[in-house]
Subunit: 310 residues, 2 copies
């Protein structure tokens, strides 16, 4: 493990960890893409460069998500045959967890991008989450193959017959467990993710309010609290290690800046497992088997946009 | 009030209600658009025709949402200067309720459509919900004006400076109360709405599960139950009367088929208030003041798609 950051603040480290003194941080910069290009000495840019040069196999960054993604997108090459990288996030809904991608790397996509996201997500669920034959769905506004914008309808047609493809799901599928991978463009995926978070926060606030509304419910709330804590722990995003950028030759895992030790440890585990279990190789094999590899280099294609902190 | 349906089943009605015997129902047809065109005698088609002919001022239909919307879209003309109708739904988040539109009528939109939805939603909130100077936001994947697909970025630029426009909100805005109207294309709006419902259902299931996990939490759950029921009543969609199709010369209110008497009564109230408070006139006035009226007829423009039951 190589740690990039201010050596003075980092101080002593465990055996097997080396420190590269990189005191310049761009984590607070409001324009991460610009900051990455302008600051080759920034800790995140140096870390990404080291990974690109093969000094490490994967990146874990808990600073600014935007900067980590921008630096990875600019520096790591795309996997063989992949059109676009995608940001994937595992959502630990109890008994119904699923991987959502793209959660924010590409605002606008073509059908063949969605098709590739389906395979990238399935390969990740197999390799890292140990799910055999993951069920993959497209997020749409109706379950019929004809529902949704043309991009979704065409992606559905292209995916028809793919092993594991279960068709379209609607937003209701959050929590039903009907798919292991839910595929969307990065705009819709990002909105869906944040609507989930917003709904969760609003509802937990309302439950808390209900529990404070009378002496009787206050007592009920107190008695219920340990069980609700257990539920919250199960839903804890730290347990998943954060978002993962898929489709590039190096894996980037992006724990949220608010994570504690456990979240960072999990992020490192996810990165290590992704490399060990060969997410990239499995993705390529799936794409090849499905005839979904990019035919030839697309030099003119714009890079994916840099998403907000998801 | 004119009631269209099987007179035999309807039986006796209250004073002031007349019954038109229309026993043919297309509520169960899997292709509502086709069913509407093929069945001029269906109760929903006859009801819509009566409204279009001026026999009534608005439509309330609790049968198939798809059929009600298809019939309205095909038959009611667009309001003067309106590009596209939009489906609007008031979401009664406690202390932070807001109107979401488009919730499913248009999968793909142009920037000027989003601009009009903003004014249509604001006029509705003023006229029907009694909100003075409603705050209107665009749903995007970041709060900055530059965030989102081109359509959203251009709509943002067009809305800049409009009184009440508060900029972009993210999915987190569910439950914060930062906007009275949240505008999206019908695909994103439909996904967001169903993700909210799915998250709500998953979380209530998890709370229920937590409350059954031990003797202590079972007791807590029992004590808390009345307060949680109160919360659920506040969130009850029946209280809002259902979804409303805006932008056509006649208002259509679509209570969900599962609604009971109260929900239907509320739907009728919403329709009556919309007509009495002149949603159409206020929408036109807002669009005119903002210079956002459609310049000339667009005969070639495709009709809005017919959404799923939202």
């Amino acid at each position: 493990m190589i740690l990039f950051g201010p050596a003075e603040e980092i101080g002593a480290v465990a055996d097997g960890v080396s420190v590269v003194d990189a005191p310049l941080s761009i984590a607070k910069d409001p324009d991460p893409a610009r900051a990455v290009r302008a600051n080759p000495d920034a800790s995140i840019v140096r870390a990404v460069a080291a990974v690109a040069a093969g000094e490490a196999d994967a990146l874990v960054s808990g600073g600014s998500t935007g900067a980590a993604l921008a630096a990875s997108l600019f520096t790591f090459k795309r996997e063989r045959g992949v059109h676009r990288p995608a940001l994937a996030l595992y959502l630990p809904v109890p008994g119904a967890g699923f991987l959502l991608l793209d959660a924010g790397a590409n605002d606008v996509v073509r059908p063949e991008h969605l098709v590739q996201f389906a395979h990238m997500g399935a390969a990740y669920m197999e390799a890292v989450m140990g799910v055999r034959e993951p069920r993959v769905a497209l997020l749409s506004n109706g379950t019929e193959a004809s529902k949704g914008p043309d991009t979704v309808v065409e992606a559905h047609a292209l995916l028809e017959g793919t092993p594991g493809f279960v068709g379209n799901v609607e937003g209701f599928a959050i929590g039903t467990g009907e798919a292991d991978v839910i595929v969307a463009d990065g705009f819709t995926g990002n909105v869906a993710l944040k609507v989930m978070e917003g709904t969760f926060a609003a509802l937990m606030g309302a439950v808390r309010g209900a529990a404070m509304s009378s002496r009787r419910s206050r007592l009920g709330g107190l008695l219920l609290r340990p069980a609700l804590r257990g539920m919250r722990d199960e839903l804890d995003p730290e347990e998943q290690g954060g978002a993962v950028l898929l489709g590039l030759r190096r894996l980037a895992v992006v724990p949220h800046g608010s994570f504690g030790e456990r979240g960072f440890a999990r992020a490192i585990e996810v990165a290590a497992r992704g490399v060990r279990e060969d997410v990239a190789g499995r993705t390529h094999a799936r794409l090849a088997a499905a005839g979904a590899l990019r035919a030839r280099p697309e030099a003119s294609e714009a890079a994916a946009s840099v998403p907000d902190q998801p």
